[in-house]
Symmetry: C3
Subunit: 313 residues, 3 copies
């Protein structure tokens, strides 16, 4: 593996999932692999799970970790050719090259504006690091994707599925704030790679980018979609079409114990209780959100392991 | 030891103090004990001594340390059954369980509001972590107690006392800001466990929670109280009765060299010079505030050692 | 080495440069030297390169690193004898002594006010740490100097010079914000110690402190100054004379490919592209800013190595 900015950077998914599960069983087996290797984690946005699980994963491999909240430093310039006489103090060209000299791997978290679709889709923050850094880059959630989360989700489904081809449903939920499409995008892409019967359900006009959903089935009727589901991934996102807008806060889309039936409940967290999903679901044994969160460590660890193995070649 | 949220979690105080002093003499003797164990430190409030000494203590034991300023992430919800459609993004149930999966020990600092006595006394932040976390929790100063400080204070008195039963006085001091009762509460509780002649002095209406002070002697006359003292612990706190109020800023309660006499001066720091205590005291050899601060490391280290030993069982 | 607050703390400069280059070739050769030694890094101001490179340097030596953004704690008092009844919560006397008990080396970054020349020149933050700390102090950029940067610059010139006595020019550049004189001050002092033909060029009234520039040649004509230069260090600073003022934003002082000729371009970074220097310079092979930034690690590492060797004596 040369970088991990999108799930398509995984060359062998089923093997990677197997490796992750094996790391989970023996997290310190490769605790010498990362010796004298440094992960620099750069945060343009808030983080709890991603920060702690990725740091933990690196330390499990014996890596050094250095963390920088970029906003505590100064504003970076991403445009080419700008006369930098206003707010930005350093160009990404310099920042990415300099940090590469202190890091063996750089991990970046940078959310979308949800205002400027074209800019967000350009993934200018993440891609600028990929372009200018001389070391592998990991995406810790970018404007349009969250591949570490999707890998953790795939590990979780692999661990807990009792069928050859389980039915997995991605079900939109209401939320008071406009949220990115990063998590559902990467989840959709991941489901397209697994042997699952996959379907997406959301209100009209909440279609995700069709270049991502491709042939995946979309059903505007949640009840129909949820029928016989084995795994239900609940998540809010703002509209892609009317970019970044909240078009509905319809509580009928909230996940309930009744609707869930015998399916397992998934969510990437943080989750707003009794808005996105009722307490009765989260507090039941149908909820596997803790397994998902736990697998974040092993998703990050398997990615770091593959990146470091490649560096050591 | 299963947790350290209150000094009553110490099963054998004199042995624990002895162990701490022995760690101080040989801080790296157990530097393999914490290998592959992770301390996650969560700060809801500012910290200097607590942060550095606790991190240092963990590293002395070979532990990994991950630090999160919770306010850099998002606001947590502590109420049960809430419809989370306003400011809080994640429920403590999820947060505490998730962090437990990345941590072997969780340390939490969460100050009181000083507005809502009932809420503060419920210790809802600390106790929610204890309730929902699946790993041991350490109190790095909560709404109502600061047991790491009290343990460091006990170590300091044990080291420096030249008498079988020294006289220890807790003396209130003025301060421009309303401060919590956490430090005096834990100090009182600790003195009740040590073989000392203990007395508290403060202006009327500054009584601490009587369920904490219990049988401890209270004297409204500072001069009388200080007579023949061996150790004088000076500290401001806001009123417990008229909760969180500043009832007095009377400079006559400030500690002076003259009042202190031959006693040793103690304070948890940070201390406002010439408000709480005059320079002449802090700059004299009567002041043992540096020993107290130094012992913060060994108080934390002995607690972590006992917690990790219990985990390793 | 007992401290590193100014480049005059280096006892043998050419040997130190040689050691740094040798560390660069083998960064982990002394990875046991710093075992059980802790570097505490204190930031009063923002940092990217300094923070990451100094942390990296310490870890290369096997040291533990603890980082505190001082502003996340509380405001420190630096005046003697103050009645601390307003904004400051802790006196530097206590803070520096306490932190010394948790640290083997303390590194401090504290910028000038650029308002109060006398206060800035007193270096009250840095010097208070030197005065009250009981462990060696490293300057990570103070009000008036940046010796880690100057050492990295000296290493870079030593590595890349092809002449016995290269011509080095420090050339002022325009900038929209008032910047400190710390970097040019330390660069001037360093050039006075190296065997170089050194000259400074800037608009009138931008003279640096004459006690620092001493006998160094000053030329108000940039074109003349740059003639036959081997290394051109470009940097903005605000006026020393009319302290902290921006007296000129004259774009004619911007560095261009044409002016630079065959010289190598140096800058400490962050640099504002097309304000301080045009893209064509930074993007050319004449630019050695990346080597400078990389050498920050080895400048810090050689300093830490000398300090720790002294501690181990």
């Amino acid at each position: 593996m040369k970088k991990y900015t999108t799930i398509s950077d995984i060359s062998n998914l089923s093997e990677t999932i197997m490796q992750a599960i094996s790391l989970k069983n023996n997290p310190f087996l490769y605790s010498e692999l990362g010796k004298h290797k440094t992960l620099v984690m750069l945060f343009f946005n808030a983080s709890l799970r991603t920060r702690l699980s990725t740091e933990k994963a690196a330390r499990n491999l014996g890596m050094e970790v250095m963390i920088l909240n970029v906003n505590d430093a100064w504003q970076l310039e991403f445009e080419d050719g700008t006369v930098m006489n206003t707010n930005t103090s350093e160009h990404i060209k310099e920042a990415a090259q300099v940090i590469s000299q202190y890091a063996d791997v750089i991990a970046v978290r940078a959310f979308p504006t949800l205002k400027d679709k074209k800019k967000d889709e350009s993934e200018y923050v993440l891609n600028s690091f990929v372009k200018y850094a001389s070391v592998p880059v990991i995406n810790m959630e970018s404007a349009m994707s969250h591949p570490l989360q999707a890998l953790a989700d795939a590990i979780t489904i692999s661990e807990l599925s009792t069928k050859r081809k389980p039915k997995v449903v991605l079900s939109w939920a209401p939320h008071p704030k406009a949220l990115p499409q990063a998590v559902p995008n990467s989840f959709v892409e991941m489901m397209q790679l697994l042997e699952v019967d996959f379907c997406i359900t959301h209100p009209k006009d909440y279609e995700l980018n069709p270049e991502i959903t491709k042939h995946s089935q979309i059903n505007y009727n949640q009840e129909e979609a949820l029928k016989d589901a084995d795994f239900v991934y609940v998540k809010n996102w703002s509209s892609y079409k009317e970019y970044g807008q909240i078009l509905s806060q319809d509580n009928n889309w909230r996940m309930t114990k009744a609707k869930l039936g015998n399916a397992k409940f998934m969510h990437c967290l943080p989750v707003r209780r009794n808005v996105v999903v009722e307490d009765a679901v989260l507090d039941s044994d149908k909820s596997i959100v803790m397994q998902q969160a736990n697998n974040r460590t092993y998703a990050a660890q398997v990615v770091l392991m593959q990146l470091v193995e490649d560096l050591n070649k």
